[in-house]
Amino acid sequence: MAEIVSLADAVARAVHDGDSVAMEGFTHLIPFAAGREVIRQRRRDLTLIRMTPDVLYDQLIGAGCASRLIFSWGGNPGVGSLHRFRDAVENAWPGPLQLEEHSHAGMANRYVAGASGVPFAILRGYSGTGLEGLPGLDGQPAIRSVTCPFTGERLTAVAALNPDVAIIHAQRADRAGNVQLWGITGVQKEAVLSAQRSIATVEEIVDELRPEPGAVVLPSWVVDYVAAAPGGAQPSYALGYSARDNDYYQAWDAISRDRERFSRWLADEVDGETGSLAGAGAAEGGCGA
């Protein structure tokens, strides 16, 4: 059964130095508040896993939380580069970042395999690309092939992902810790079911979950910690609760481009009292909420 705790407690109990951590949310329901809490608690040497390590992981990488990254697309959606990610890869600042790189289809299938309790997934993918030859974090080929035992066809094989911790943001949970999310639900169900431990932050905790079209429900007994974090997806959004703060993504480009400016943002973020969505927005003339 999920325990309902504060976000700080959830992170303190579930996320440890050296862990592999998957924070998922595909442009929608990105667990930004949880990411900031991981920064505040100064976790180090994490293996970060995420299909789209957008602004969320740019913040964690710049803050020095990560040593390794498993991903498939590292950009600021609709804006451009992730400057902290690039600075880590190109200049090892604030430290080196080892990469394991996939396509979206490969990452999605790796989570499916992890959630399914099988060691690998098959797909038609990667053929002829440079990704095929790249090593995984263990130095071994991350993308291999397998022969279909029925037809003899060669297919691509990718290893299951089984993170130590999965962190997601959802719209609602009930008091028993059942978690409900809807809209673009991405790969969050698979991330939670593939992980050893999981945290779900939610917009609100309610007495009873109302059915919603297309909703995913994660029963309380597959989630470890539920924490209320209203607005916790901002600057991404929670359908039915908040709108995507496109200005923040634009503002992040300037904040993250410069190490000093980023470091000031980080100091506010880590040491400031009230979080920094407002802080970042204010720096850009009211781009926050």
Partner: protein, 264 residues
């Protein structure tokens, strides 16, 4: 990616348009009503939405966030904006969009951008420079593109043309066009036909049926073959039936500018 409104409003000629608007209109014309189209963000999304707003109202837009049949009335900034989910015929998970919808070849057109493209239409969005481990520029990476390029029945690429982007060989093959040339796609087992058109800010290139090499088949008004050749990093082949492409119509420009203005 946006058109530059300053440049447009600086002139009093209502027929004036930017290179981006020309490119977007050109890309929109490559889409036909009733097609299914896997759309990337930026210019491809602008073009697909322009097509839907003009000649192809029944174009089915599919975004990798899992939104199938999205009908936004403005241009989303990301592939997962709320407007896409709210207007979609169906919203499915990310594993499902790739496994059930893209992989079996259900989707007609894949619409891709590129940081680098080579004469065989191979695309690089991963790293610039010869050494993957020490890149001169770290680009975002693959996203959905490798499997879009492999499995959509056809691919359209939209990319601004320059010596930096149009290279003889890409530094890294993120998404396969025609590989090393004729027969490559078949050898690799790629189900789709590969790039059908590459639409740039100068004109259109299409693969030569025999050599698979991207060949200049169309130019925008006022652009010369020499202009295009100067911005191509290989010996550019020119089609015998090179055409001058129609500038954007007033209807196209109005629809596109409305989409942009609603997106502000």
């Amino acid at each position: 990616m946006n058109a530059t409104p300053a440049a447009v409003s600086a002139t009093h000629d209502p027929a004036a348009f930017t290179a981006d608007e020309m490119m977007t209109a050109c890309a929109a014309r490559a889409l036909h009503d009733g097609m299914t189209c896997f759309v990337g963000i930026g210019l491809p999304s602008a073009a697909a939405n322009l097509a839907r707003a003009t000649h192809a109202p029944n174009l089915v837009l599919i975004y990798e966030s899992g939104t199938i049949g999205a009908k936004p009335d403005r241009l989303p900034l990301s592939i997962g904006d709320g407007i896409l989910a709210e207007t979609a015929d169906a919203v499915v998970s990310v594993p499902e969009i790739f496994n059930y919808w893209l992989q079996p070849g259900r989707i007609g057109i894949g619409f891709l951008g590129a940081a680098q493209i080579d004469k065989f239409g191979n695309i690089n969005t991963t790293v610039v420079g010869p050494d993957y481990a020490r890149p001169a520029v770290r680009l975002p990476g693959a996203g959905g593109a490798p499997e879009i390029a492999a499995s959509c029945r056809e691919v359209i690429v939209v990319v601004r043309q320059s010596r930096r982007s149009f290279v003889d060989r890409v530094d890294f093959v993120t998404s396969v066009g025609f590989g090393d040339g004729p027969g490559s796609r078949e050898r690799l087992g790629l189900a789709g036909a590969g790039p059908r058109k590459v639409i740039t800010d100068l004109g259109i290139l299409e693969p030569d049926p025999a050599t698979c090499e991207l060949t200049l088949t169309g130019l925008y008004p006022g652009v010369t073959v020499a202009d295009a050749a100067a911005k191509t990093g290989w010996q550019l082949a020119v089609s015998d039936s090179l055409e001058v492409l129609e500038p954007p119509t007033a209807a196209e420009l109005t629809a596109l500018r409305q989409l942009h203005s609603r997106s502000q």
